[in-house]
């Protein structure tokens, strides 16, 4: 075999090969960066637009030829946005609903995922499959019926109605179950041998190991509270019980009922800011959590 050795190398001018490969490497890098920056600009443009729009006057916003930078910067839009929409109360509501529903949701999700991942019972797989099937139904169709249900329970205008109906997410149970399944069953058996209770095992072993998924569920849940719009509007008649996104639509109409878009954009910016900040600080956890939960899909 040695006689047949690949002889291409000798035929080429070695230096040329070296230079060529370096150039192609650099070229690929440049192309790569150019592409990535282009995408980054495309991704960022709408946010840029949101911010400059929020600083324009209504007249400038409505100009037929949109301006790329406000001629006159109107910071007052932000003050107006905050004052007009009772944002303080809405912030408070959103935070309360977000935190309580996240905690309860985590507990329920962890327990169910544990049952599906580690316990053996009749009909487990059938039940799990049935749950997964419900994920495919357009959720909007539930609204009418759920509205009737909560009205019958007399839950309207309470935090309960904002929290309870959405506590269980089949998707989260699914994510966490997948994550739990990654944890070797030997650990559970070992814990059983040591006489560790299920709850203790969950708390001491499963939860720490599944932390990234739990964090991503937390974030998704918080984001859900932050972005929910239709439901709170439907089930609250007291403006002091609404959530933050509801504040975006209501308060920014001028005399004739026409929306004052710059102020609305300012409100959107105010409302988005906390999510942005949370994301920037917890970026690592969020991205790790979301991606890890995805990989196991």
């Amino acid at each position: 075999m040695a006689d047949n050795m690949n002889v291409t190398l000798q035929e080429k001018d070695l230096k040329k090969v070296g230079v060529a490969q370096r150039i192609s490497g650099v070229f690929a890098k440049i192309l790569c960066y150019a592409f990535l920056f282009l995408i980054a600009i495309i991704v960022l443009f709408p946010f840029y637009w949101m911010i400059i729009s929020s600083l324009k006057t209504l007249a400038e916003y409505k100009l037929p030829v949109p301006t790329l930078f406000p001629k006159e910067i109107v910071w007052h839009n932000y003050v107006e946005a905050f004052d007009a929409a009772n944002l303080g109360t809405l912030f408070k509501n959103t935070v309360i609903v977000g935190i309580v529903s996240t905690i309860l949701s985590l507990i329920i999700t962890v327990l169910s995922a544990f049952a599906f991942a580690r316990l053996e019972f009749k009909g487990k797989n059938a039940l799990f499959a049935a749950l997964l099937a419900t994920m495919m139904i357009p959720g909007e169709l539930f609204t009418i019926t759920n509205y009737q249900t909560v009205s019958m329970f007399n839950w309207k205008d309470t935090y309960t109605v904002l929290i309870v109906p959405f506590l269980v997410s089949v998707f989260y149970i699914y994510l966490l179950r997948q994550n739990f399944l990654q944890i070797p069953n030997e650990l559970y058996l070992a814990a059983k041998v040591d006489g560790t209770s299920d709850i203790k095992y969950l708390w001491k072993v499963m939860i720490p190991l599944a932390l990234p998924t739990l964090i991503s569920i937390t974030i998704l849940k918080m984001m859900g509270a932050w972005n929910s719009y239709m439901w709170p509007k439907l089930v609250t008649s007291n403006p002091n019980m609404e959530l933050i996104t509801n504040g975006l639509r209501n308060a920014y109409s001028d005399v004739s009922g026409e929306t004052n878009f710059p102020v609305q954009m300012a409100a959107v910016a105010i409302v988005s800011a906390p999510l942005f900040l949370v994301f920037l600080f917890l970026r690592k956890y969020i991205m790790k959590g979301v991606s890890r939960s995805g990989i196991k899909g």
Partner: protein
């Protein structure tokens, strides 16, 4: 053991589901009974709370709050809770869902099609028994008045607005108007004066005028018309042709020769570059109207809501408006028998099992719609047209109207024009599907204008579009 556990759990689930089913399905008729006037009329000693859904912005809510205080001086036992529920569509959606569980408010901002929708559930209280009642009530200040409306009060309403409450096909009164707007013709007065142009009173005059303006400025679109649907409906009214009817099996009767002809005519205008509409232009046509005349594609007339007057005013350049805006009644088929659309919210009252609540709601509705000071202040704050004529005699309001001009007080000017054409307001029938018809005729105009057809096939194509619109309307209401 095993099987028992499974059995128990299965039984539990079945029990839960059946109990839920029975709970919901026994719901059946959740609608409160028709109101019957109590023997003793309104009881001012019992506390009642009534809720009011509207779409008022912050400045209008201030006006409302101030007058609730006034109202409570008369009826301290009536507590009014009011809430801004987004826009008109949000009000409709919220209430129609709430009706399904009998949770609707007492009073709401409404458009005729909303009432038609609520009426399917028989949830709206007819006002006849209330407004015609001659039972009296003694308020906290000691004045004794009848619960209903006096003939004087009824006559004070602008006729077209008042009749909107009775267009549901059964002759009953369902709503009272609160504040209204209409469509008006905004024109560039400076330009008109400069070129000695006459404000058009009829569509024929308008057509000639457009041709003239095109000669002066070939790069312009002389007229912008914001609402295609309004245009269609108003034309039906002006021509006396069929649009819709609240009665019978076939509600949608707008597919007729007359209507196809005016659509064809306006399509030609569009193709000549005389006119554009909001949807076709891609923005309110006021943006064309307020554009500098030197720019390509500007317009010199705009037909839009009287409530949007400030948007029809050009931005100041060096502290002065570049041109003066004039406002006139929209063009007519017959200038002597004008017809203009009426828009803006009315108030409806929902049935409740407690007649005192209904009575309290009525007293508040009556107060808001007939109180001159409230109507005046609300009009000044909103730029909407008051619904009663006597407002004009209010000295503050008269002062306000006197300020009307085509610059700083353009809103006032639009209100003034709206009040001057008080005899021209018409209303169209309201029924389940009236809003569908409205949407569809708007789309119809858009489609006909934009499409490129051979001259020879235009008639057939327009006919096809009309057929399509009617078919769609029928489908949408489940027929």
């Amino acid at each position: 053991m095993k099987f028992r556990k499974i059995l128990v759990s299965v039984l539990l689930v079945v029990a839960m589901l059946t109990s839920m089913l029975s709970l919901f399905s026994c719901g059946g008729n959740k609608v409160a009974p028709e109101f019957k006037m109590p023997e003793n009329g309104f009881d001012i000693s019992k506390k009642v709370t009534i809720t009011f859904y509207h779409t008022m912005g912050a400045n209008l809510r201030e006006v409302l709050d101030a007058y609730i205080v006034e109202f409570n001086k008369l009826y301290p036992n009536i507590k009014i809770e009011h809430k801004q529920v987004g826009g008109y569509d949000d009000v409709r959606k919220t209430i129609s869902t709430e009706i399904t569980v009998g949770d609707q408010p007492n009073i709401a901002y409404c458009y005729p099609d909303h009432v038609a929708l609520y009426n399917m559930s028989k949830a709206v209280q007819t006002l006849d028994v209330l407004m015609n009642s001659d039972k009296t009530v003694k308020d906290a200040l000691g004045n004794e008045t009848i619960i209903g409306l006096t003939q004087e009060q009824k006559d004070d309403f602008i006729k077209g607005y008042y009749e909107e409450g009775m267009q549901y096909g059964d002759g009953k009164m369902y709503t009272l108007p609160l504040s209204k707007s209409t469509e008006v013709l905004y024109y560039n007065k400076t330009f008109f004066d400069e070129h000695n142009l006459q404000v058009p009173k009829t569509w024929d005059e308008l057509e000639a005028l457009c041709a003239k303006i095109k000669e002066i400025d070939p790069d312009c679109i002389p007229l912008g018309y914001d609402s295609e649907a309004n245009w269609f409906i108003t034309m039906c009214e002006q021509l006396g042709s069929d649009y819709t009817t609240a009665n019978g099996d076939n509600n949608f009767i707008f597919n007729n020769e007359t209507n196809r002809n005016f659509v064809k005519r306006f399509r030609e205008w569009y193709k000549l570059g005389y006119v554009t509409t909001q949807e076709i232009h891609g923005a309110y046509t006021s943006s064309l109207f307020t554009m500098a005349a030197t720019e390509k594609g500007n317009s010199y007339m705009s037909i839009g809501s009287s409530a949007g007057a400030t948007h029809q005013r050009p931005a100041k350049v060096n502290g002065a408006y570049p041109f003066e805006v004039g406002i006139a009644t929209v063009p007519q088929m017959d200038a002597n028998n004008p017809k203009v659309i009426s828009q803006g919210p009315s108030l409806c009252i929902f049935k409740k099992s407690n007649p005192q609540e209904v009575l309290a709601s009525w007293l508040f509705v009556k107060y808001l719609t007939t109180k001159v000071e409230f109507q005046a202040e609300f009009s000044m704050a909103s730029g909407y047209i008051p619904v009663i004529k006597s407002v004009k005699e209010n000295p503050i309001y008269a002062d306000y109207l006197n300020k009307a001009d085509g610059g700083d007080f353009i809103t006032t000017l639009s209100v003034k024009v709206g009040l001057e054409q008080e005899n021209a307001y018409y209303t169209s029938p309201a029924f389940n599907g009236s809003s569908v018809a409205r949407d569809q005729v708007g789309y119809l105009i858009q489609r006909c204008f934009v499409a490129t057809w051979k001259d020879s096939e235009v008639d057939a194509k327009i006919k096809a579009e009309f057929d399509k619109a009617v078919k769609e309307c029928k489908y949408q209401i489940g027929k």
